[in-house]
Symmetry: C2
Subunit: 358 residues, 2 copies
């Protein structure tokens, strides 16, 4: 059972909730756009399904609705932002825009962020670069759910990497990927459907590969991209580690097992070495490398050639990163955004908390 | 059957071969160090095993031993280098050093390279940043051996990503990974041993997953990290694509199926859109983000905490990226570098071509 709601109506509702939490009008608008970019693009696990989670973090004082967000360190091409314990949905765009400004000035800009919270989907931030015809990069660490190769202990988050590249007449290249075999949202879908997970997605508390999608609740862990050593899980582990280091060791945020959890009822890890969670953003001006028109023409050629790659029999075509999300966006803008009944109830309850009707 | 040769002796031999090809003394020394960094670090597929391949590319005129390597475009934090069709083993260090110089000046430096050739292992170049206590990044595209998800056509190289991060008292973090499930060198080992490959490494010409390690010779392809769609191969494909775009679309090199092949007997792809193969390098100065001593202390904490992650029963410990290669280097500096008898013969023949004795 699912409902469909018009994008504008969902935007109004979510904006009202953030405003009721005490966010300024500007912050509420920014947070809303960051959050529901996920619903629009078909990444249902990272959109309004998490709204009540953000509210609970605010209720227990882990999110500050009126944060003092500041650039605390910089060089001509870099900066570090202190997110003031604000919504990552607001801190992310603030930091990404500094990266873009620095790219305008010296060719590229790179901003690491401490003292933040979950920022929704990485693409929501990286895609700000496209408005300036720049390459955009966004990554974030997250609380530990992933076991490195040979580890039975959870040490890393699903730590996504997003890279967006503008094209000329083709739509942009938008790659946004968790550095795990499967995202947690996919496990939640299997749990709801009472289906097993494929081998290579999760392990139990002793590090044995299992298919029970509930294994995370009994001390299990998600597996790094690759799944096992023989299939390159040490590479997925290394990629997740790079995201953790760029996002948190470079900024002074928490890293590894010390990253704050998203569920407000989970206690904070002890002896945290840093502040909040960390993100990392980058922007590269095309004409700092080549005349933009040459680059855009070659990017069009890249995309059209890959789209024409010979498909395996039974498959329609080879996709370009960003294709499925763009198709979802077109469909959802037209027909409304589908919301599962359980999420719909959760949203209604969250609204009721502030006397806002859905 | 294998031989052991002292590092210094191998270095002398390889340097003499590059000199005999016509490289300047400086270029011969640089190329040698880049190449045999692979042998030293245990990446036997990328070291002297390829020396005769470089010589053959020079013989057919695809490698210029006296290249005009030039910075052809720049901004304060970026540059594009034309490798003049030189050895990637020489072009790589030239470009990486520009990235480092720009990082000294404005915090970070980013250099894309066109008109180059194979550069050995990415770590050989990225690790130059460690000498300046910087974060180093290196990637390269390569001739198409990899099929994107749903494609039966080879469209990408094994396109490695290397990221190196200095630490304080701990050894540095060195991640260097092909964006495929398994590197081509691992297939060659299975071929020599007449063993099957695990499922998820390769597909045949029709896109069916197979275990025959020779499938590449009959139109098959390596699989992107993840192996199949269910295990995230679209992520490995996206990562390989990012490397291709940063290395080649940003520089004006060839990309996708147009990248020149390494074997000199394989004809060049028709209608190439760019020049040679492409690389991408980056350097980030630590103190452009945080005081270096704070960063190095946190990096030590990161490494020591991950090293202490609880291992799965039956495994000794959780590794830090770079651990196995550093152990190989220590052992090989002491006991000499092992060379398979077939490679030993190949080296002797290559030396004989120039009247150089091994």
């Amino acid at each position: 059972m699912e409902y469909r709601i018009a994008y504008a109506d969902l935007k109004k509702f979510v904006g009202d909730v953030f405003s009721a939490m005490g966010c300024s009008a500007e912050h509420a608008a920014t947070a809303t756009e960051s959050l529901i970019a996920a619903d629009l693009r078909g990444i249902d696990s990272h959109g309004v399904a998490r709204l009540s989670g953000y509210v609970r973090l605010w209720e227990v004082g882990r999110i500050n609705a009126t944060p003092d967000i500041r650039l605390i360190h910089e060089s001509p091409s870099t900066g570090v932002v202190d997110g003031g314990s604000g919504l990552g949905l607001v801190v992310g765009p603030y930091a990404m825009d500094i990266a873009i400004r620095k790219a305008e000035e010296v060719g590229t800009g790179w901003v690491s962020v401490q003292h933040s919270n979950h920022f929704g989907i990485a693409a929501a931030h990286a895609m700000r670069a496209l408005e300036k015809n720049m390459i955009g990069i966004a990554m974030t660490n997250a609380s530990a759910l992933v076991a490195p190769t040979f580890s039975s202990e959870r040490m890393l988050g699903t730590n996504p990497i997003c890279v967006v590249v503008p094209a000329g007449t083709e739509p942009p290249f938008v790659a946004d990927l968790a550095t795990t075999t499967a995202a947690n949202g996919k496990l939640e879908i299997l749990q709801r459907k009472h289906q097993d997970a494929p081998a290579g997605w999760i392990q139990d508390k002793d590090g044995k590969s299992v298919t029970d999608p509930h294994a995370l609740k009994t001390g299990g862990a998600l597996l790094p991209l690759g799944g096992d050593r023989e299939h390159g899980s040490h590479k997925g582990y290394a990629l997740g580690a790079i995201v953790d280091i760029f996002s948190a060791v470079l900024s002074g945020a928490n890293f590894g097992p010390w990253v704050p959890p998203f569920p407000a009822y989970v206690p904070m890890p002890e002896n945290q070495p840093g502040k909040g969670i960390g993100h990392f953003f980058g922007a590269m001006r095309i004409d700092a490398f080549r005349p933009a028109k040459d680059f855009l023409a070659d990017m069009d050629l890249w995309i059209s050639r890959f789209r024409k790659a010979k498909p395996i029999e039974g498959y329609e075509k080879v996709l370009i990163p960003g294709d499925p999300e763009r198709e979802a966006e077109t469909e959802r803008l037209k027909n409304g955004i589908p919301i599962l009944d359980t999420i719909w109830e959760d949203l209604k309850n969250t609204g009721a908390r502030f006397n806002i009707k859905l």
